[in-house]
Amino acid sequence: MTMPAIKAEATAVAIPTASPTSAAPVVTMTPKQAPRAEKYVKMGKEIAVRVVPPLIVLALLMLFWELVCRRTGSTLPPPSRVFKDTKELILDPFFDNGGIDKGLFWHLSASLQRVAYGYSIAAIVGIALGTLVGQSVWAMRGLDPLFQVLRTIPPLAWLPLSLAAFRDGQPSAIFVIFITSVWPIIINTAVGIRNIPQDYRNVAAVVQLNPLEFFSKIMIPAAAPYIFTGLRIGIGLSWLAIVAAEMLIGGVGIGFFIWDAWNSSHISEIILALFYVGIIGFVLDRLIAGMAKIVTRGTALN
């Protein structure tokens, strides 16, 4: 007889915060008016479920890294060293001592600016060309083989050629970003346009939309999910390409910062820069994904 009593007590102790046993009946009777506190607890739980596991993994990795690189004679610094070495760079990203001796903020913003230019041009040109190739069979026959060959050229292979053409680092870097990110945008847009259901084209024909209205009211919304897939791949590629390109053209930029740190044997700075590159790449990807979510909220086929 004592066993069930102990059991019940144990469960009550195990989950003291939410006390679901007493709240559950109330919730089922008035499901839309859950107490505010309970809502917050639920929200907190949901966030914890997402945030806690990666934090644990990160902590373990850091620990592992610390243990491996702590020994004397290890080629890479442990995380504690990295933090100590780069404390100033982390705390003051805005200093500017002229020349290339600038805070990380300036390097990152220079890189982001190049990406913004190159990527914007790629988005406009990519969507336009993709629409053409998707809509016209002859354009596809003529251009598609060309695209398939050109898109396999590695980004950096374009750099010498663009340096020769523009004779300046800035436009060359922008061109490399453009040429790297334009292909997935073209190809995905073309697929999206080609996949517009015949029904929508029939509707447009019956309503007698002119080509411009057809483009803006049918094509772009119908192909939006595909277009955004291309845009998302494109932003990832441009962020990959900018670091490599900046290593070669020099000046200001996160790629150059990494190369410069390597030349001065500041390994900790390289690690810090990689961390920033990763975070910004992630944020850029999320940004496009979020935009896609807003723009294509109604386009899912039903």
Partner: protein, 264 residues
């Protein structure tokens, strides 16, 4: 007597490479203003192709379509189509879907406020005004088809083309929507050409039933007048001898004289 809509010696053949398939052969049909005509036949007999030709979405190989004595060979709002799978644009709301056509057709003849009122008027006709701000994914299949009908009606077509409009709906929703279409036809007096493969539906709704033979080279096998008085009531007709006779005729045509050979 002048025909309102005339299908004049229409042939249609599809060719792929060297192979040519004749789908429709010598289709002649005249439809009076305000008439409700159904085209019935087995699947694959080309009835949807015929509707597409009338709509102007597909060109005829020979012959043509005359509407009020003028040839029509491209799509236009004077022959609005209600598509089988509703074909609402999923990124637009119910209201915007109807407005798309209204804005084009009445861009110069109606003011913005008038167009808005006209959209709402048509949504009211199909009892969908309450869902005007919903997206197609948020409403049921029957509701989508209602909106599809409102979109077509709102263009004030001379001929309303229905391409198996109730085919994708469950039986109860279908019956409900058929009653709605009957009521609309009664009220507005539209000229309607409907494709169907449902015998009861054809008899219930139509003034005349056009029965197609099996393809390839489908022809009009028989045209049946449905001499039932309007307004028709589904329940009363169930025992009406005239209704049963018409139904019998169509069934005989479809299942005795022109059985669908490919049906396994």
């Amino acid at each position: 007597m002048q025909a309102y809509l005339k299908l004049d010696h229409i042939d249609k053949a599809f060719s792929r490479g060297n192979a040519t398939t004749e789908v429709l052969k010598d289709i002649n049909l005249t439809i009076e203003k305000g008439e409700y005509v159904s085209i019935i036949g087995h699947s694959g007999c080309g009835k949807s192709t015929l509707l597409n030709i009338v709509a102007g979405l597909t060109g005829a190989t020979n012959g043509g379509v005359l509407l009020e004595n003028r040839e029509v060979n491209s799509p236009g709002p004077d022959r609005a189509v209600v598509f089988q799978n509703h074909s609402l644009l999923p990124w637009l709301t119910v209201y915007e879907n109807v407005k798309l056509g209204v804005d084009k057709v009445f861009s110069s003849t109606k003011t913005r406020a008038e167009r808005d009122a006209w959209v709402m008027h048509n949504l009211n006709l199909v009892q969908m005004a309450h869902a005007k701000d919903k997206r197609p994914s948020e409403i049921s299949g029957g509701m989508k088809q209602r909106v599809g009908i409102a979109r077509a009606l709102a263009m004030e077509p001379k001929v309303l083309l229905l391409d198996e409009p109730f085919g994708a709906l469950d039986a109860l929703t279908r019956a409900h929507l058929q009653d709605s279409v009957m009521a609309l036809h009664q009220k507005l007096g539209n000229t309607i050409l409907m494709i169907t493969h449902d015998v009861d539906e054809a008899v219930l709704l139509s003034d005349r039933i056009v029965m197609m033979t099996n393809g390839p080279s489908a022809r009009i096998g028989e045209v049946l007048e449905v001499p039932l008085a309007r307004p028709r009531k589904r329940l009363e007709l169930a025992t009406n001898p005239g209704y049963l006779k018409c139904r019998q005729r169509v069934l005989e045509f479809l299942y005795e004289r022109h059985r669908f050979v490919e049906a396994a």
